[in-house]
Subunit: 192 residues, 4 copies
């Protein structure tokens, strides 16, 4: 596919409060440079609803227009900034994509259910990102509040685990994320 | 040590609503028999408090008088009954030991942080249970409500992860559970 | 399917050296009795071939005639005996199903990639076993030697991860094990 | 502490075949720059010996002189390069630190037993690295061959799990790696 998979869809870099907010963070130009020289660290999250016994009952999938203007499905995803903990990055991107009232319950364990390696050139792994070499730590995150997708996400769709396991959904996800979604479902025992 | 380790402390079998409630469950005599012939499946839980970012801030340890009348420290623990899911067993034992208002958040993943193998004879593993061969699936479970230890638990003590990591606490736990507690702390990134 | 779904296919109980070998083990009649009263502990293994970098390149699936005479696909599976460690049980069942020259490399970690709960009645979980309530700890196990299926296994088929991920293979597996196989593939990063 | 923790001890950057080998890799100056602006991705490995049943019997700890000339204990560690898979990075650093005849068996699963976050300023996590913000994926890796420490490692010491669990060893490790070592031991069920 020409239209690439990307661990996060920022045509603009991360939604910072402004470059002056933290001089240690990279300017756009420096980010472009670094992206061609270093693996970039990401976090990704599959938002879920759980019942009173912790069983995953629904899975949240984002609808998004990619830079090519195509509508694709994806999950919560974004860069880890300099000086930022993984938890802070996870929380920031969950809030960015699901709004401030989603009330995510970050997992007690920092160990991801999977590590996705995105390369600019297909074939090295199941994941592709034309822009960069990105390594992403992926988590399943229960959310208990109200989700209102923000930014460039058009919509959040709640599916049953069986629906989210289907080949159709798999095919609509970008950059290999259908594979990551299945691994997420398997890790919580609900892959169809 | 004469004072045995036991994955659960029931001199009486599990706190059932009565033998008539489910004829498929074992009578006391049959349980004694089965315990000498089959590995018995247990679940165990380390109750924790987490902050808004999911970081474990406190660890709950039970104080209990064992059958020898000694005061020891332990964690939530008990048998899985016939026909009962692991989640149902976890929830039942959490309620039994922490009371009905603890509001445990069972993890989305059914994979335990550790599997503890208890044998009647020391040396086969780090865990000992004079009564039986028990195999225990162990989980870290955040609780959000009020804990009121019931049954034979004397008290629930909340400790910081650093306190729970200490050799003193390790030495006061029965049946090798100090080792299990450390593994729990390590699995959530807070072992001191 | 009315027939089937069984964590192990023993019409006869476990292949013991004889009932006299260990009086603590259960007689056939007692096993039948216990199976109707207690959850029975199993281990299961997905045998794999790995390349020099540890990447799973092939997955071993067993062809077996079930008690109804149907040919189904399955994985290595069997009971944990009284007094037996999980590792000993895993090794014994791998040898039973793959022969003495398979040279399995048991994982350093005792934590399974998944825990499968088999119930006699469908609907409680993804897994069904008409005979019993069984709880199975499942592992991915690299084998480095020559596999010669024994006992009632007709054949061991080596597949690529992509082949093993296919809906066709999924449908041919008994008792929900297609789901378990996918979880195995996901846990080692090769689910298609 | 003046004597810093560092996820890898390179006063010189990674042992590359030469800067011309891959123009996409960073020059020394650019690496210094990037290290002040981006989290840097690392892999770390605890080399172990296992017995025929997969049980960890020995743990390999490196003795190394840090930049301050102090002798400290550490584990295998190093950066992931641009375009390099995690497995390739793990293998390269294992070979760098243990020599070409160590024959490491990389794990089938890409999921680390722990993720260590190193910050230049203490207090944000259990791990400190004065030079940079580094995020490290840590693995337990059985080695089957002969280890001959190379480069700046003075010696590889094989310890029993009980020895490696001791407070003395914990105190001699740099940058918080005593904590990481304990988490490694816990993940394979041998923390003392």
């Amino acid at each position: 596919m020409a239209s690439v998979g990307t661990p996060d869809p920022d045509p603009i870099p991360d939604p910072l409060p402004g470059p002056s907010a933290n001089p240690a963070w990279l300017s756009d130009a420096a980010l472009v440079e670094a992206r061609s020289r270093l693996p970039i660290l990401y976090v990704e999250a599959v938002p879920v609803r759980v019942d009173g016994m912790g069983v995953v009952t629904q899975v949240g999938i984002l609808l998004r227009a990619n830079p090519q203007g195509e509508i694709t499905r994806t999950i919560v995803s974004g860069r880890v900034m300099y000086g930022e903990t993984l938890r802070d990055a996870l929380f920031r991107h969950l809030e960015k994509d699901l709004g401030p009232l989603a009330f995510p319950q970050l997992p007690p364990s920092p160990v991801p259910f999977s590590v996705a390696e995105y390369f600019p050139i297909p074939g090295l792994s199941a994941f592709v990102d034309e822009r960069q070499h990105a390594v992403s730590l992926a988590y399943v995150v229960p959310v208990t509040g109200t989700c209102e997708p923000r930014q460039d996400a058009l919509e959040l769709t709640w599916m049953t685990p069986a629906e989210a396991s289907s080949p159709v959904v798999h095919a609509e996800m970008e950059g290999g994320r259908g594979t990551l979604l299945r691994a997420a479902l398997a890790s919580v025992g609900v892959l169809g």
